[in-house]
């Protein structure tokens, strides 16, 4: 009996060495552990053994079972390993091939820049307000203190729709509409499309976009304007960018100024710099304290309230940001252009 056990151990160990597929492995496993397997047969012998030998025989068989189970487990592991290895080799593909199926689309670069600007002002507590493209002379000119006779009102500078309407030549009408509503304080930016009869070229377009800001409250002053613009510029162009206000003239603000920012593209006014042309500064926006007449016309008492306003051109900023030299690219929409953003 004990010899049989030894026999089984040796034979099994030998045979399992030569098995190299899962089917043979399973068959062999059944032939040992199955209902008709060798171990079951051995245990059947138990009943014919004298009573006193049964415990030690049983123990020996159990040891054998544990041992064989371990052998089978290890064999199974190594078989799986080699099989999967084979499969991996067979299934190997050229992972360096690109087959593109998923495309993420793109946001228009002007919208991307607009969003960036909007988000900065949102963070500073500004609401975003919009207005119509088609306006009246009142909102586009009169209410902005632009004299009845002024070149900006000419057909060369403004598109007219019949005698009553025009295409807004600036986003300032939105400021007037907001002030008219009379809900103070006001802290808004007004982004939008504006129209001027300029022939299309690399830097001009009859349609372009502006973003204007307006803050009206008690005690608003020029120092606040400078603070607001400086915060925006540092956030958008970088912490080291400096601003410079130059006196200027706009009918709707007084005092008025143009704001330049120090060139972010070159050091020490490089004459070959494409962004500033060696000036060291880039003209960015117009701004000023809202003219008392403008407040008055919109029903706000200029003796109590004051405000500042500023306005900038989106295309210019986007061109500087992306180093785009031809404005027409924005409206041509060649997908090779669009897909870069």
């Amino acid at each position: 009996m004990i010899d049989d056990i030894e026999q089984i151990r040796l034979k099994t160990k030998n045979k399992i060495e030569n098995i190299n597929n899962l089917k043979d492995f399973e068959d062999f496993k059944v032939s040992i552990f199955g209902k008709k397997g060798k171990l079951t047969d051995l245990m059947k012998n138990l009943s014919i053994l004298p009573k006193e030998e049964r415990p030690s025989f049983g123990q020996t068989v159990n040891i054998l079972r544990d041992e064989l189970e371990n052998i089978f487990f290890l064999k199974q592991q190594s078989l799986k390993q080699s099989l999967i290895k084979e499969a991996f080799e067979k299934e190997t593909i050229d992972v360096t091939i690109s087959k593109k199926n998923h495309h993420l689309g793109t946001k228009h670069p002007l919208i991307t820049v607009m969003d960036e600007i909007k988000n900065i002002f949102l963070g500073m507590g500004y609401q975003i307000v919009e207005g119509p493209d088609i306006e009246t002379s009142y909102y586009n000119f009169d209410a902005l203190n632009i004299p009845k006779v002024h070149p900006a009102r000419d057909g060369q500078d403004t598109f007219y729709i019949g005698t009553d309407f025009l295409l807004r030549s600036q986003t300032s009408p939105v400021q007037v509409r907001t002030m008219e509503r009379g809900e103070l304080p006001i802290k808004i930016i007004a982004p939008g499309r504006v129209y001027r009869p300029d022939e299309i070229d690399a830097t001009h377009s009859p349609i372009f976009h502006q973003i204007e800001g307006l803050v009206v409250d008690k005690g608003i002053n020029m120092s606040n304007l400078k603070g607001a613009l400086l915060s925006f510029v540092r956030e958008f162009f970088g912490k080291d960018v400096k601003i410079r206000l130059r006196p200027h003239h706009f009918p709707f603000t007084e005092p008025s100024a143009e704001m330049d920012i120090s060139c972010f593209s070159c050091i020490n006014n490089d004459p070959s710099c494409k962004v500033c042309r060696g000036e060291g500064y880039i003209e960015l926006l117009g701004c000023g304290m809202v003219h008392p007449n403008v407040l008055k016309m919109s029903g706000i008492n200029p003796n109590v309230y004051s405000g500042f306003a500023f306005g900038m051109g989106l295309e210019r900023i986007a061109m500087q940001k992306y180093n785009i030299e031809d404005l027409r690219l924005f409206y041509e929409n060649d997908i090779r252009f669009l897909k870069q953003f």
């Binding site: 495309h103 507590g125 598109f159 020029m222 400078k226 206000l245 100024a257 929409n333 997908i335």
Partner: protein
Amino acid sequence: MNIPVSWIKEYFEIEDLKELIEKLTMSGTKVETIHSIGKELDKIVTGRIVNIEKHPNAEKLLVTNVDIGRNKIVNIVTAAKNLKKDDIVPVALPDSTIYGGITINERDFFGIKSYGMLCSITELGYDSTDFPENLEYGIYVFENKNLKLGEDVCDILHLKDDVIELELTTNRPDCYSVHGIFREIKALGYKEKNIKKNKEYSNKSITEHTKDLINIKIENPDECYRYVARVVKNVKIAPSPNWIRRRLILSGIRPKNNIVDITNYVMLEYGQPLHAFDLRKVAENNNKKEIVVRFAKNDENITTLDASKHILQKSNLVIADNEKALAIAGVIGGLDSSITDSTTDVIFESANFLGSSIRKTSKEIGIRTDASTKYEKGIDPNLSLFVINRCMELIEELCIGEVVEGWVDNYPTKIESHTFKCSFENVNKILGTNIPKKEMINILQKLEIQAKDDILYIPTFRKDITNDADIAEEIVRIYGFENIEPTLDNVVAIGRKTKKQIVEENIIDILKSLGLNQIMTYSFENPKVFEKLNIELNNLLRDTVNISNPLGESSIMRSTTISSMLNTISLNYNRRNNDIYLFEIGKIYKNSKFSENKDNKPIEKLMLTIGIMPNKNFDFYELKSITDELFRNLSLNVDYRPYKECSYTHPGRTANILIDKKEIGIIGQVNPLVLENFEIKENVYICIVDMDEIISFIDLDKTYIPIIKYPKVTRDISIKVKSDIWAYQIEEIIKNCSGKLIENLNLFDIYQGNQIEDGYKSMAYSLTFRDKEKTLSDKEINIIMEKIINTLKENLGVMLRV
């Protein structure tokens, strides 16, 4: 406006030009650029011809001995024929540079060494307009025979200068002159030089008085504020001196003759246009030359200096005698009374007209002159007399003629300097500063504004200053914006977007993630677009909002976005770009009907337009899967219904998009005949949706719907239906019959062809049911399925396939 730096330096001590430019720019007189004139000219000196001989070896050349100063006489070879002994000429020395950057060196001409070159004015970069006293192609010969030799020719002939180009603002017409800018330079702290006059201004030569010679009548004092005239007799018409010509040219004015040049020169100096009439051509009335300022008569004719004939209107102001118009006031003189070479006696005019009137006339007759531009901007009437006297001073100084004593000055209402009470405290409030009152008054004084207590006396040339804000601007531009501390306002406000802005951003994000590229196009449209789009004549789209003054052919505001999209696809297609997936969010414009806008203001609607020109494996259903995904993301339930009425789409492949039975858009394949008009030869799919409708249907407040824990039951149903039955009809019945229990229905197979008889199609749906309160039993499902099948049979003649 352009000013030569040499002109500034005549009046001011300028050590650092860069500093001046910086100061001007930062105080509101922006220096755009500096044009350096003649900067390449170098080492060109005066030399005297001592001797001229023929070149021994070359017939056409001469050999000159030239004294170039410092006891140095050199040989110079030349081909010029206009030279004689003792002529003083410009000599380009060896290693010099002439016009065009050409370097001149010592050179051998047929065995004779030439020590540099003798120069013509062309070689110095000028022509006979600049130097009329000289030949264009001969060597320049100095008129002054006493010039020192070896001196820099550039200095003598004023060949080198920097011209600063200024950008001036419309509120400062007083700056549009040299002395206007000088006033700014003074305010910036620069000291004026003491300039000695060459000669005292006198007029002893003629004993008559101007008042005996001319009479001035102003018929329209509302448009002509002042008219001053003076007379000069026995003038000698000639070119004006070099220095005047140089300054005119550098300032952008072409010299003509001494009389015209002087009026222009004085206009440059003070911004007041002057005009000169030939006295003989002005008719007399009661033994006096009579000048009348009046409106033109209807259809009155005048031929102007530029030889063009104009028919005037009643609103055009003219200068006339009692017979005819002599000039169009403030714009241009008449040809007949203009200064010619034979003119001997001249009437000078220094007048002040209403800017808007001059502007209107100038536009109507289509002529803009330096004078009309100045009048348009506005001139101080108190300048008129001063400036005409300055002109007379120059005429005497340059010995051009004999100035008649006195003047005629018709000035109906004298403009006085205005005053107002300024609150210096308020100025500090506007600026956010604490500038002491004393410092402010000091600044104002520099600007010629006098303060007595809080009352400010504003000079008449600064009509733009009327309130504290204006004063704040004057203070700050001299005080310096850089001296204002940046601070943050303390307005209590919260940054906020509107629903429209939020929805718009969502849509952009969704479409972007679905692989579409956003485009932006013009809102203008060519009216021919409706033919291209095949749109019927009575279609409302043709009732467009029209631009009265369009640029080119795009004369209407677009009433549909489809052509902008097709144009963009066409551009990409014709550039061989593939896989064109685009969308645009942009407005369309239409005329308002009675009820929509009470002021008849045109209506603007925001539209979402999708346009796709796919490469392959794309059909209508692919497009629909994009819009389905968009609407699902926006939590909008939309329905699609077949639509055959759209002229620019395929009638069998177009659907209306509906929300709550309201049409909000259209989706379909573009009509190939329309595509031909856009030069596109591939299939294009489009979808146009009214964004305003989407925005109104969207609810931004989402709430969580609990996940049902009971299991779902799925049943498949395979049917045969007539081909003209639409899926939506079947789906509506399925939904109606199953009430709230239906969770999902999915058409997983559709087939037409073999095994299915003609005129029929087979469809297979997978239906998913779920009850939120219990597990559904087979029995319940069977009842529903039976109801579905029966209704489909009854209503649509659907047959069940097994």
